[in-house]
Symmetry: C2
Subunit: 354 residues, 2 copies
Amino acid sequence: MAELKNDRFIRALLKQDVDVTPVWMMRQAGRYLPEYREVRQEAGSFMDLCQNPELACEVTLQPLRRYALDAAILFSDILTIPDAMGLGLYFEQGEGPKFKKPVQTPADVEDLEVISTEKDLPYVLDAVKLIRKALNGSVPLIGFSGSPWTVATYMVEGGSSKEFANIKSMMMNTPEVMHELLGKLADSVTDYLNAQIRAGAQAVQIFDTWGGALSAHAYETFSLNYMKKIVSGLVREHEGHRVPVILFTKNGGHWLEKIVESDCDCVGLDWTIPINEARARVGDKVALQGNMDPAVLYGGDDIIRNEIALILKQFGHGNGHVFNLGHGIHQFVNPDHVTTFVDAVHELSAQYHQ
Amino acid sequence: MAELKNDRFIRALLKQDVDVTPVWMMRQAGRYLPEYREVRQEAGSFMDLCQNPELACEVTLQPLRRYALDAAILFSDILTIPDAMGLGLYFEQGEGPKFKKPVQTPADVEDLEVISTEKDLPYVLDAVKLIRKALNGSVPLIGFSGSPWTVATYMVEGGSSKEFANIKSMMMNTPEVMHELLGKLADSVTDYLNAQIRAGAQAVQIFDTWGGALSAHAYETFSLNYMKKIVSGLVREHEGHRVPVILFTKNGGHWLEKIVESDCDCVGLDWTIPINEARARVGDKVALQGNMDPAVLYGGDDIIRNEIALILKQFGHGNGHVFNLGHGIHQFVNPDHVTTFVDAVHELSAQYHQ
């Protein structure tokens, strides 16, 4: 494998010196790009696109052709694992993900089998290999997975949810069933991320999009503990390099002190907590990733640059900052605004790395 | 007007001694009650129900007949103000609120007029008067309004939203237009709450359901500052009694220190922050309301009682706690579980008030 030409992202995750703050965006390969929409239409359904390694590779690379991003992220979905478990993932126009066979009973949970990524999700590993080859060391490739709790919410609710009535009922009334489901998912995610690492992913992120819907103690019991279990089972060195792990719990800012105990390298932040406050709370234990409101990209150049300047100033001098949005880029953002965003992070951050 | 027979709720808001912790629930008059669904069907649309003072009074009283609640809350909607401004509020089956004429341009904002509650929303004041009379001093009546920011999100998006693309674009690119809209709403809310107080509301709550979608500095500028302005314009004494004010920002736990500077009497909490942490941060400045996850009501008796015991223990001894859910009660909760909830708060809290 080619050595990395740009390793800012990896270095920042490991709290090492960098020349400027590295930057990437959650969902950087996505619907705001016309070239993505073209490939998406060509592919057929969203899942057809995910399951086609050549096309998944192509859309992964698209944002890197436009922008000076410091990392690529595998194009895939957080629900590939339950799909591989046989739940039948599909996407209805404008309605988000759905499952043909949601998990509704203890017997449904019992019937689920921990996945073998090599056997059950070869298309993901093929995509990782193709992307690594195509990147040719230009920037590192991020692999990812949903957290067990977040993936379970979709499996039990049958799709997206606001109130999480079914899964929270399961959690309250049959915690042993909930733990069985989360345990199978944790084992599956561990296998999935390790397979991605062995196929070429140089860092991994766990997306806990819905951990923030829980109370503090339920978060620890039903989400964080399973992410910790995954982190403890991950391959942390590959090809002679450290493979950093990022944990991102949306609306998880109250629990940073707990999250850093997971042995992750970096904690992702949404935009509700100022990054200086987060840094003061976690100290030198981990790097931080974030945390601009994606909606700032609706603003003009000055607005975007001012917000970036504020966040960089809040983080201040020192190592361990990966710039990112606080959640995925929105569909209707003007792609030219992203040029402003990426370039401004590099330009305005240089002064903090002298 | 009859003197209050049960003034625990008011006393707790003012941090005075109580025998047990008072309890009420957001959306306690609502769809989880079969008798509510009956009246709702009879009334026609949801807005027909809101606009009929006799029926609004009836559904306000329904939960008080079943449960030993320590307060009643006016049955109404946070979007009555924009409806009175001429935006044409309606509810589509399963889709939440919509506006026929959303606010889309600076001219739309300019055309809006601050409401006069007496003239524009007489049905709300008639309902308040009827409810006060019907309560006959049994428990206090809470009046309420949405916050300017939260109400504005629906006005500009035309309904519910996940990403708030339109209003955040307005906020970023034309802040002067955003401030004009929020200023008109703040003046309207002030008039609205004062009219409710004069009609008989004995405490008021401002619901900032979507303030938590903002960054810390945007929250302060575009949501909190307007709530502060409202609080400073409210009637705080009526009928010889203090009228306490509760501010509730969902997902606002990061900003408690700022919120208490608003001169409110009480801050409402969702369930993501442990109430002992909140109390440690706000000190003796305000009372706290909350903060059980509404989903706990899906659990059986032991689960509900254990969670209540935990929250009461977290708050500990001393005055200034109103027990509540961290958001509205869910539609599919078993009404019998609410009996367990209300009674357990009273039973289990007595030891903290000796």
